[in-house]
Structure formats: C-alpha cells, structure tokens
Symmetry: C2
Subunit: 327 residues, 2 copies
C-alpha cells in the first residue's frame, strides 16, 4: 500500500503528514515557516520536516513514495516553481520548489497553491466528497477559492485561477470611494469581506481599537450582544456603541461574502459550495447573513444548491496535497 | 469526409448550415423561430429547415451524419431537453429537443445552450482558435458567457454555468438602490451593461426617447458627437443634452462591462478573452472605456491577458453546434 507525504506550506507555519491511500493522516509534524530567510532556507527546513516523517514512517514499516506540497503564493504546477508570493514569505518568489525539494528528499514532488490543495482535500474526503464539481471559498485573512472539477482543481492558464476575492463588490465602496485592496486594486470583495476588512469596518463605524484589537475581538463584542439578546450576559466592558459597530461590521462582511458567493455560483454552477476559513467557523452571526445574501443572488434553477461548511479543518490542505502524488 | 448540420436556434430566428469537418459552412438557411407557437411547432419548423439542408447537401454529393443545435434557454446537454427558457420563446421550456428533432430528421442530434455553441465556435475556428482555455462574453440584449476548456464549454452541474451577467456590479446601483435585473434579482452586471440597460441609463440621464428609441439610437447620438470632435458633423437633430446623456450612458455600460470582465479574468485566468455581441461591434466608443476598466481590475500576473473581439459573427454558433457532432 502506498503512503505519501502531504505538506501545507503557509505564511506562518508549515504542516506535514504521512498520508495513506485512503487519505488517513497517520503521523504529522509542524514547523514555523522561515518567512524572513528566503526560498532556500524554507526548502531546507521543509526537507528536514519531510525527511523526519519519511523516517518515522519507515520505523512503522511504511514506505513513502512521493511528496505533495500545497504552498502559499501563485504556484506554477507544471514547472513546480513559485511564480509570485506576497511579502508574507520573503524570497519565496522564483523558488524552484519541486526541483529543490525533490533533490533534498530524494522523492518525486508535485505542488499546487495551498488554496487549491485545501479545496482538493475537501473534494476528496471532506464536505464535497463524492461530487463531480465543487467551489470552495475561504474567508479569513484573505478571500481565496478553488473550483474542483472531476477531481482536479482548475488552476488557470497562468496558475492564477481561483482568485475569487478580486472582483468588484458594491459593498466595498465607502462614500462613493472603492476601498483599497491588498492586490493593489480597489473595491474588491476581499477589501470588504476578509477578516481584516471586518476589523477595519468596525473602526470606521466608530468602534475603538482599545475594545477590539483584531477581527477576533470584533466577533467577541458582536457575539456578546448576541448572547445578551438570548439572555446571556454581554461581554464585560464592551460599550453599547462598540456592540453596534461590531455587529454592523460583521453583518457588512457577511453580506458582501454571501453576495459574492452567490454571483460565483451563477457563473460556475458547482454541484456543491464549500465555505471555509476563520469567518466560516465564527458561528451563525456571520453565517446567517452570509447565506441569506447568497440565496438572494441565485438564479432560479440554482435555488437548491447546497452550501456547506468545510469539514476537514487544518488537515484539508495536507490530504489535498497528498492526493497530487496519489493518482 | 463527414458533413453535419449546425443549427443556431435563437429567440427570433433560427439559422442552420451544412458544415464540413474543417468547419466550413457550405450551404445555409434561416427561418423565423416560431416563438409564439410552442415547442412542437418549433421542432417541426427546425426539422424542415434541417431536412432541406440535408437534401441540398445530398444533391451536391455530401452526406450529413448528424445535427448539432445551439439553442436559447438553459439546455440539459445530457438529456437533450430545454430546462427553462424565457417568454421570448413561449412553450420552449420542457421540450425534448434531441429526441423530438432526432425522430423528425432521422439523424443523431446533440445540443447545448446557444452561448456555449457560440463560444465553442470561436474557440474552434475564431478568435480563440488554438488556445487551451478561453472565456467568451457577449454583451448585447443580455450578458452571457461561456468558458471553454480543452475544447469543451463548461456547462455547470445544472447546465446553468456561464451566466456571467448575474453577479453584483457596483455600477448597477442608482441612488443607493440596485437596479432590477431580468432574472428577478437586483444590481447585476446585466442590469447595467446590456444594450437595453444602456438605453435605460440614457433616459435616466435626461435623454429623450424621441431622440433615441433604442440602444442603437443612443450609440448614433453618442457617436455623432464623437465624430463632431474629430471634425465631422454631429448627428442631425441631436440636442447637446442628448449627446451628453448618450455618451454618459455608453460610458457607464462599457465601464461596468470591463470591470465585470476583469473580475471574471481574475477568477478564471483564461488563456484568451473573447468579447462578442452587439456592443463589442459598436466601435471604440464602447470598447476603449471597456478595456480600460477591464485592465484596471486585473491582478499583476494577468496584466498581459489578450482581450480580443469575436471574429466569426453569426456563423459562430452554427459551427460551434456542428462541432458537437463532429468529434
């Protein structure tokens, strides 16, 4: 029976696991991504992580036959190189990921972008298992997605496909001015529907950074009020104005997310839609207005499209990456 | 050598041709679509058109081996049925297109939606010939599109894929209210970027219906002023206010179209983008602001994506439909 190593190489940490043919993660390990030291150092550290798992697998009588890597950045899956990456991983752009890692570990390596690996994992074993086509969209620090068709994520001609956070959203306009987006553009979905965008909206709506320093804080305040409505005490110390600002910010982000997803469904008509990322896990306060806005967008023949939460959590990208070398 | 019949069945007319293996249209014919008399009458008339072409082909010593139909409406390409159609073709919904036409003409029949047939034609022989992936979007009475990947239009799980006119556009909001869309939704791209939407904007901007009764009239007025700038006399009778309204309306529709296309490119990363429909043929007054808005939306690695006009005109859907039975 074949075993392979699946690697999820993100901006802050790199996780890897020994994955069986059926997608079971038998052993795993995590290291910080050396995001300030450049591509070669990252490859060295990743190779050490992979080789350690290969040895642990061997100790258990298992042979690892290949390595699949889901990596942050725009990844040329054919050449096995990093086309571009943000400053979150300095020096990653241009790295020969497949050649460099393969030479270090002595095994065949394949790679795709981490969001595609994530979607592939969910399509193989998670929320979209058994479907012919699925659209996964993750709402978190950014907004990204992947459309998986017959078991393959659609990568795009220049490997840029799946950048579903970078089309215009009517909600990303404030006083007639489109909000700046991290991509350098303006008025995109990501500029209003990402986690940081929700925190920015909270501040714009009069919330104080001293009461919520980040998106998690905004949700805590909003949720506190929500709990108060249902009879539980509000979050201690949150002023009424902060609660109003927090709930408005979460509602805005959720509506923008749902409207964008609905439009994507009209364009792609996937069998199932998988919603992932930190915001999808934040509870009904985000999910309900998101799904309401989503359903409002749909063309009539799409009314019953299933919209489900991702189920694999952090292992999705590991098993999805493993699947690349399990075919 | 194989010959087949390609049919483009639209809301007002049905065109068909005898198509060679290499995509040459050797003979053709056109009839009005019986859009008030129901599915069976349409099938009868279409069968007569097809059989006439089969006979003409036989007279020339050519044998037609099958029929491909690109039809208006949401088409279940697997079952060969019309899932839904607008009131533009009464009684078309539910028609067993493949079974009914095949029984009448005695030849194998395959069908897809007409926009997919159109895109398939452009991908085979037109503006996207030789590419692995292309996105075609048509801006005319409506806004529709098709993504062709490795020679097959992507149809979607419920055959609704390609409805690229039905996602939100920031330009489809007037005084804070999203414009109604023909799909029943609000604020969609089609509600601001279609031909009728440009005429509606002209009226909203103070233009008079007596000066421009339709979209063509709006372009005539806008173009007249454009010509005046370059030294040619303005359209006789168009008041200065009408010119301002007409140019603003064309500019709005074009910017909305370009912004939407740019977002779609970020999502799909096609090798080439083909722009089709009456608005794409209306000249630089629409194309220039469209392409400027499109380029403004693009992520950096997509900056050089080719955006080209469709080249096959009315034969695109005929040859694309023919291709369905030429594999």
């Amino acid at each position: 029976m074949t075993h392979v190593i699946g690697v999820d190489l993100g901006g802050t940490k790199t996780a890897a696991g020994v994955v069986s043919e059926s997608g079971e993660v038998l052993m795993s390990g995590t290291i910080p991504t050396l995001n300030r030291t450049g591509g070669e150092a990252i490859l060295d550290a990743t190779a050490a992580l992979v080789s350690g798992l290969v040895e642990r697998a061997a100790d258990a009588g298992l042979t690892a036959s290949g390595v699949g890597v889901g990596s942050a950045g725009v990844i040329d899956a054919a050449a096995g190189t990093v086309v571009s990456a943000t400053d979150a991983i300095l020096g990653w752009t241009g790295t020969k990921l497949v050649a460099g890692l393969s030479a270090r570990v002595g095994l065949p390596v394949r790679t795709v972008n981490d969001v595609h690996a994530h979607a592939l994992g969910e399509a193989w074993l998670g929320a979209a298992a058994g479907t012919d086509s699925s659209l996964m969209v993750a709402f978190g620090t950014g907004v990204g997605g992947s459309f998986v068709l017959n078991g393959s994520p659609f990568l795009g001609h220049r490997f840029v496909g799946g950048h579903v956070g970078h089309f215009a959203s009517p909600y990303a306009v404030v006083d007639g001015n489109p909000l700046p987006c991290v991509c350098g553009g303006f008025g995109h979905v990501e500029a209003v529907a990402s986690g940081p965008a929700i925190h920015a909206a909270y501040l714009r709506f009069g919330g104080l950074a001293s009461e919520a320093a980040d998106t998690r804080g905004v949700f805590a305040i909003a949720q506190g009020n929500h709990d108060a409505v249902s009879g539980v005490a509000a979050t201690a110390g949150a002023a009424p104005g902060a609660v109003v600002a927090a709930r408005a910010a979460v509602g805005l982000g959720a509506k923008a997310a749902g409207q964008a997803l609905g439009g994507l469904i009209n364009i792609l008509d996937p069998e199932v839609v998988v919603v992932s990322g930190g915001l999808a896990d934040a509870g009904e306060l985000w999910w309900k207005p998101m799904e309401t806005a989503l359903r409002q967008e749909l063309l009539a023949p799409l009314a019953s499209v299933p919209v489900v939460r991702a189920t694999l959590g952090n292992t999705a990208a590991i098993v999805g990456a493993a699947k690349l070398v399990l075919k």
